[in-house]
Subunit: 392 residues, 2 copies
Amino acid sequence: MISKKISNNLANSSMIRAMFEEGEKLRKLYGADKVFDFSLGNPDPEPPAEVKAALLELANSDELKMHAYMPNAGYPEVRETIAQKINNETGLKLNSDNVVMTVGAGGALNVVLKTLLNPGEDVIVFAPFFVEYTSYIDNHGGNTVIINTDFKTFQPDPELLRAKITPNTKAVIINTPNNPTGVVYSSDTLTRIAKVLEEKGQEYGNTIYLISDEPYRRLAYDVEVPNVLVIYRNAIMIDCFSKSLSLPGERMGYIAANPEADDIKTLMGGLIYCNRVLGFVNAPALFQKIVAKAIDSSVDINIYKERRDLLYNSLIKFGYECVKPDGAFYLFPKALIPDDVEFKNRAMKYNLLIVPGSGFKGPGYFRLAYCTSLQTIQNSLPAFEALAKEFK
Amino acid sequence: MISKKISNNLANSSMIRAMFEEGEKLRKLYGADKVFDFSLGNPDPEPPAEVKAALLELANSDELKMHAYMPNAGYPEVRETIAQKINNETGLKLNSDNVVMTVGAGGALNVVLKTLLNPGEDVIVFAPFFVEYTSYIDNHGGNTVIINTDFKTFQPDPELLRAKITPNTKAVIINTPNNPTGVVYSSDTLTRIAKVLEEKGQEYGNTIYLISDEPYRRLAYDVEVPNVLVIYRNAIMIDCFSKSLSLPGERMGYIAANPEADDIKTLMGGLIYCNRVLGFVNAPALFQKIVAKAIDSSVDINIYKERRDLLYNSLIKFGYECVKPDGAFYLFPKALIPDDVEFKNRAMKYNLLIVPGSGFKGPGYFRLAYCTSLQTIQNSLPAFEALAKEFK
């Protein structure tokens, strides 16, 4: 009796969750330490000490109204702290009015899409991608238009983008560092994308927004993640503290825009309005203050780097093909047979839990989330090696 | 360049916010203690001691993964605690599978509506009502159908409801204790509504859901708030801790359903799915644990009762007409002239900030939120009296 669309979606629902349940079965059968679960992107390092200190300080404080409503956009001083951090990193001139605190990055994306989309407008994404984007776009009446990246580098091609833009294109979503590939979009790529959006926007007399979803921005190992707000005036930056501070359960994110964006006042007003009417109302109070106090801290990203290096180098040694990722906590190697779902099933025989690339519109590949201890990765290597041998 | 609908809505946006800004002006002009602000429903008592104790305990604990993702529906043990509390109060047999933790009641309503609505289906509400419902329903492609309550009692008329139900009716939203009237729907009213929904559902061969939004459930002064899950099998109960524990900024609520509801498994699966794809993902982690630890505590509701009594009795004495509210922290008296917006402006000359009933589809009335100290109420009384005299 529920919505037909939701009922259908439920039936086809998340491959990742299904994997999780299959994993539970294997864990019961063989013991947790014998199952190598690379399926879930749930950050496992504890939050940095600054987070715990901030939580304790606030728990001990006698401050009144600490859990009351604040302006729907979030505490002005928290938004100002974030604006200043962006300014320090970029030389831009944001202030608190250019930042809206949100219920995580997922909440932020929904707020942005609700704010921007008229019914039936197109939003372009580059595959492979986090497929929840499709649901988010559909929530607000938009169409998802998919453009493949070059699967040799997973960088998007700005000229393919140019060819796909029509007067019906409202926005482009990018995700860098990327889930599922771990790739960071280069400054050159972003600059060329910006140029395309600027030119096509001028041609059609409208604004084409670049929505940059950056939950992994602080998890980059060998490169700097360029800031899109500097590169494109009409970029909308989405960030959260789920990965940088290992706080995914607390749902704390934000939206930032360039003060020079077209009609910035209406844009920010729309974001605040949509944050309210979508039922988020405001980002959780206490953790707004905590992330502001811990704004300059981060989980130790060397934990992730060490895992990436071990896993990547081992896979290459075993004969897998894989683009070396610069960030996030994912590898996206090529499956050893074209059918990635069958490949996932074959991996499971070695107690390896991996996600087929099809779940990210990247068929023929598979995703490994290395939110798992170095020891588990070490222990899993013989399984990856045996799996590779099976297909030689 | 943003969505046309959002841009228009922004232009007509919340009367309550506009009031807030006018209030700020008055406060600057006359001093905060000379302005009597009854416009905002922001609970002012501090959370009970149990909340602070739970926060401190968790802040001091060495528990790992305290801020990690948990199942999208929320921690099973927190959901079980809530299920058991409902069972103790009702004799029903809920378990953790019948509860989904949500980002406040606003989030819960959006999750429920997204789960239920096919495009163009009707949702019935009883006026006066919290007009955000209209936005929530529209977010998910539904139509709002408004039925007036009897303005002499603000109780809905089940026979008027029967006349308005069509095969296109998916759900009815009620809100008890009610914002803006403070009225609690009687057990008799609810039982008759349930009978109508049952009969019309049978007639049309579908399920008509009763969505009961109950953020003020624990703020009832002279009566018990009946539990809809007992009265109607296909009721969906929405509750939050914003008022009962004075935690509105933390966004903690839940959805509960009766295990005997039609196709309960699909319903709950849909709710969990929509909680995820709307971008909430899960209710904030730490405060889930805090509300479970403080589940049997409450703000001192005598604080509110005392205010209600003083304000209500005084208004009646000054000649205002008002239904005596049994709960929430609102009064909804009749304006002394038919034009409630003009009446709001006249009240402002006495530094009284009130919200016109039109903002709740209750024209000719006005809302007073007594989330303000007893002293402020005391000090405001001469202003209410003078205002009444002006219209004698």
